[in-house]
């Protein structure tokens, strides 16, 4: 993957981060979880994050709330019908006390969703 298929973020000390930074690559968890761990260790906050795919990107400011970046993998299989396909999306989420704001990007579009706080399942784009 290249920077065009990744996430980027900045921390409150002014440093900028990428999913591909060697410092965030540890054996047992994802680069995003390592960035969260680094912030915890160093007393930092993630101030903005951006998800990128070759055709589009989406960024969000933290505004003091926790941010999370991840992926949504969708696979579809037909019973005796026509082939549908599989899709991959990148998403980011801002966890506010009364709601979670999601931004999702995929090959065919970009979407925003609002869900109840604490929801861990990325809402499903319809593309």
């Amino acid at each position: 993957m290249c920077e065009r298929d990744s996430w980027q973020a900045a921390t409150s000390d002014g440093r900028r981060w990428s999913e591909h930074d060697d410092l965030l690559h540890v054996e047992d968890h994802s680069p995003w979880r390592e960035l969260e761990a680094l912030c915890l260790r160093e007393g930092l906050m993630i101030v903005w994050a951006q998800v990128n795919l070759p055709t589009r990107f989406m960024a969000v400011d933290a505004n003091g709330f926790p941010l999370t970046c991840g992926e949504l993998l969708v696979g579809e299989l037909s019973i005796a019908g026509e082939f549908i396909g599989s899709r991959r999306y990148r998403w980011l989420r801002r966890d506010e006390p009364t709601r979670a704001l999601w931004g999702v990007i995929g090959e065919n579009g970009a979407w925003q969703f609002e869900t109840t706080p604490g929801q861990q399942e990325c809402p499903q784009p319809t593309d």
Binding site: E27, E71, L72, L77, I79, R88, Q120, Q124
Partner: protein, 190 residues
Amino acid sequence: MANTLTFKTVYDAGAGPALTEIGATDKLYYQKAGAFTYGALGAIPAGTYNDGHHIINSSNEELCTTAHPANLKYLTDSTVSINGGGSADVTTITTAQCLNLLASCSPNAEVTAFSFFAYGATEADAPAGLTVYGMKQGEAAWSNIGGSAAALDLGAGGSAATHNRYVALSVSPTSNGAKTATLKASVTVV
């Protein structure tokens, strides 16, 4: 490497039974008992359940030519007939008899949500004229998984390179005629 989600099942295309990825244009096909027969002659009578399970390609040709995937037939909410056998508790269904949903992550990632359901005209709709029962392997009961509101929760999981889930399936037409459905799996990873 990008994260991926693939469907696999155990069948034999001539090189021995193996857990095999279901190709991008391949499909599941359920029928009545007997040799593979695509179309009306293989139709499951309305109100009854599948006695045959096959993997077919985009030309509706059988791929599981030497040995088929296990046939799991709904009997009651808590029992199943496996490959034509007598009634057995659904908890006896093994992973090798199920549809394998494999999320591969590089680098490692955790699963925060994993869901699976069958749909028809829209994701909110159950398949028209077809009841689809499903269950996560190891659970104690089938459930009707038609429509997004009836999705199976396949569970979150800790950080790993691979995340396997296993789903048992059985179908029953509620009327005569060709029936189709789409199975949808969604995985949220961080």
